[in-house]
């Protein structure tokens, strides 16, 4: 009964405190604005990268310039790639313990409640402040089992073979314009390797944070769950409120090998000027399970479609996504499921809420390739529209090159009914409380999948979004 938790147990987000910002004087290095080969070379130089990565970045940059701006999805016309800082480093090296983290950064995290969260059951915390990981810890027993949980830059230096074997194999730079951009300028992100048969019982967590105006954040995450292993990774994002655009364009690659199980949970709450353009994809092998749980709040435009490629028989993929589009926001979110082998199963559950003129779009693909017989795909998308100004669209794409497959698609669009409002209000709830409760109930099937403190945070974020919704 997660929603009954005492609010004290949760990070205090009773007001929008995340709109604070720290002074930027303490930055060790900040690139000039704009994007060209020199900037990219400079990033490699700062990071002292091996030759192959330098080449990879430069090649990706070329692809980025060649690829046209996408014309589907959301409005990207105001996005100026040359008006962005592509690399900022806030601290010289990753810190090993909380006490070593610089005061100012610690204060920021304190306000986000991270130490509190860690005390409870965090296995390791990777907090991304600007473009680098400055703080990380990992429980000893995990290390003993051979689990690697580090930032992606460190992984490149410390685990070069493992890194090179998988990096860019799930999402090559040529996949799309933003994947190419990320491949050229990536910095930070998480690297996780779970050896065969190892089960991590508690969620691995990362907090990401953008703090510098006009600074793009391009984290790159690579996760390998080896045969028969299981893990759950959780990331939550909050960003301060800024007056001009910020770009967030991450790439997340996941490989789940035979009989492995992996869940990737994200809650994002960007400030209203952020472009959030993320490519997330997993390859799921025989009898494995890959789950994306994805909560999207805030941002100016989010385009994000977590994908699972079901590579071998028995693989299963699931995406649960929640989108909340408020005033001035467009959430273009969904999922992709690609069945490449027989007897594979996928499920997409999408819930969106539009309010105050916000727009949410479900965009999803269910694809069954030739030979992937006896596969099954199930898509449910429900939209809740809270007022007349708001908008919801559904763009389901279904491609089937096969007989003997089952594809189910259900979609619904609803409004809060007067009868529901009256019923709750007759029990003493104000109209705002009643609306908020109905919305909370609408997303409950997804929220109950979140770790407890995230569920509390999610519900409180929804309440914040609902405040002042009733005139």
């Amino acid at each position: 009964m997660t929603t009954e938790l005492d609010a004290k147990a949760a990070p205090d987000i009773g007001e929008y405190k995340y709109g604070f910002r720290d002074s930027e004087d303490n930055y060790v290095f900040k690139s000039r604005k704009g994007l060209d080969a020199e900037i990219v070379a400079q990033i490699s130089e700062m990071k002292n990268e091996p030759e192959w990565m330098r080449e990879f970045r430069q090649k990706s940059l070329e692809i980025f310039f060649q690829k046209p701006q996408p014309e589907w999805g959301g409005d990207l016309s105001q996005l100026d790639y040359q008006d962005i800082y592509y690399y900022v480093r806030a601290s010289d090296r990753p810190e090993g313990s909380w006490d070593d983290v610089p005061d100012e950064i610690r204060r920021t995290y304190d306000r986000l409640g991270i130490p509190e969260a860690e005390k409870k059951y965090l296995a390791g915390v990777k907090a991304q402040y600007e473009s680098e990981v400055v703080y990380g810890s990992l429980q000893e027993d995990l290390e003993k089992q051979g689990v690697i949980f580090t930032d992606t830059d460190s992984a490149l230096q410390q685990h070069p073979e493992l890194f090179r074997e998988y990096f860019g194999t799930v999402i090559p730079p040529s996949d799309n314009k933003f994947a190419a951009l990320n491949s050229a300028v990536w910095s930070g992100g998480s690297f996780i390797y779970v050896p065969p048969g190892v089960h991590i019982e508690f969620p691995l967590q990362a907090y990401f944070r953008i703090n510098s105006e006009n600074m793009g954040q391009f984290e790159r995450t690579l996760i390998i769950v080896d045969e028969g292993a299981s893990a759950h990774y959780v990331e939550g994002c909050t960003a301060p409120t800024y007056s001009s655009e910020s770009l967030h364009s991450a790439v997340v690659e996941v490989i789940v090998k035979k009989k492995g199980r992996f869940r990737y949970t994200t809650i994002q709450n960007w400030s209203n000027n952020v472009y959030n353009l993320v490519t997330k994809r997993a390859m799921a092998y025989g009898d494995s399970l890959m789950e994306w749980v994805d909560g999207n709040l805030g941002s100016q435009l989010t385009m994000k479609y977590p994908a699972v490629f079901l590579m071998e028989p028995g693989a299963r993929g699931e995406t649960l996504s929640i989108a909340f589009a408020n005033q001035g926001q467009h959430q273009d979110a969904g999922a992709k499921m690609v069945h490449c082998a027989p007897n594979t199963y996928s499920r997409i559950i999408s819930k969106s809420i539009s309010k105050g003129g916000g727009r949410s779009s479900y965009r999803g693909l269910a694809k069954v390739a030739k030979g992937a017989h006896h596969s099954k795909s199930n898509v449910i998308c429900d939209a809740l529209i809270l007022d007349e100004e708001s908008r919801s669209d559904t763009y389901p794409y279904i491609e089937v090159d096969n007989d003997d497959v089952t594809i189910e698609h259900e979609a619904s669009v609803s409004k809060i009914s007067d009868e529901q409002l009256f019923y709750l209000m007759s029990r003493g709830l104000t109209e705002a409380e009643a609306s908020s409760m109905i919305v909370t109930g609408f997303i409950e099937p997804l929220v109950k999948e979140l770790p407890m403190e995230y569920a509390v945070e999610m519900n409180r974020l929804i309440e914040l979004q609902m405040e002042g919704s009733v005139g």
Binding site: T3, M425, T440, G441
Partner: protein, 270 residues
């Protein structure tokens, strides 16, 4: 001093059509009143208008609790003043757990000045009370974890209304055909529940077609509605008479109202 609910010359329109045409009623805390009448006489309209449903437009008259006029107040404000309506058709709220909903409702009703976002009543205290009330009403504690009225049978929904009545403990409760659609066992459970709850601190208005609910809750007053007005008030024997003989006698005694009823029925049919 016991509280008084007073309805004075109440006129209500639904979508421009006058449904209530001057209803007068007085209920004191501790009293049980039965409200009877044929279909379309305005019983449920009265219930919804009292609770403040936005579709029921009050065009004249007043509803007062201890002198405070409710007519301009939102339903939640009326609830906080001690009014409760058990719905004939309780609404489903998917994804909202009974316990979460009730904790919020109980907090607001017990702290009428509470602002949005202020603390709810302590979890432990609330759970204990909920558990004991559920036991009293013979309800499985599992109910508290279910989504509000979602997938509930007719009987379960009605019991959920009675549980809410028990937790909110209002000064005045309106039961809108709480017995409809129930088998006799379920009616007995609900009747006993109401009998247990309504002591000298609760005034109850039982809207019913039947006498069954009244077996355990003998009314001191029985009111009969016809064509949007209360045309007769008597004691428990009036309820018994209506149950045995129907409304023919009432129509004979009130020919003008009966004619209006017929006219309204034609209007609807036409």
């Amino acid at each position: 001093m016991s509280s008084l609910l007073r309805i004075d010359d109440l006129h209500v329109n639904v979508e421009e059509t006058p449904i209530l045409k001057g209803v007068n009623l007085e209920i004191r805390q501790g009293e049980i009143h039965a409200l009877m009448g044929p279909n379309g006489s305005g019983k449920s309209t009265l219930a919804f208008a009292m609770m403040g449903h936005p579709k029921y437009e009050i065009t004249g008259g007043s509803i007062e609790i201890d002198g405070v006029n409710l007519v301009e107040l939102d339903p939640n404000e009326r609830a906080r003043l001690g009014l409760f309506l058990a719905f004939q058709y309780p609404v489903t709220i998917p994804g909202v757990k009974v316990a979460d909903f009730l904790r919020h409702a109980v907090t607001n009703v017990r702290n009428p000045d509470r602002k949005e976002g202020e603390n709810l009543i302590p979890m432990r205290e609330f759970r204990k009370e909920l558990r004991s009330k559920m036991e009293e009403l013979g309800m499985d504690i599992e109910f508290a974890r279910r989504y509000l009225n979602d997938g509930f049978s007719g009987g379960e929904k009605k019991r959920m209304e009675i549980l809410q009545l028990a937790m909110l403990n209002p000064k005045f409760a309106i039961l809108d055909e709480t017995d409809s659609g129930l088998d006799s066992d379920a009616v007995r459970v609900v009747s006993e529940g109401v009998a247990k709850l309504s002591g000298d601190q609760m005034g109850v208005l039982i809207i019913t077609h039947h006498e069954r609910l009244l077996e355990f809750n003998t009314p001191q007053f029985t009111h009969v509605m016809l064509a949007g007005r209360v045309v007769e008030t008597g004691d428990a024997s009036l309820a018994a008479e209506l149950h045995n003989q129907g409304y023919a006698g009432v129509r004979e005694r009130h020919p003008i109202a009966a004619a209006e009823e017929e006219k309204a029925a034609e209007h609807v049919a036409g």
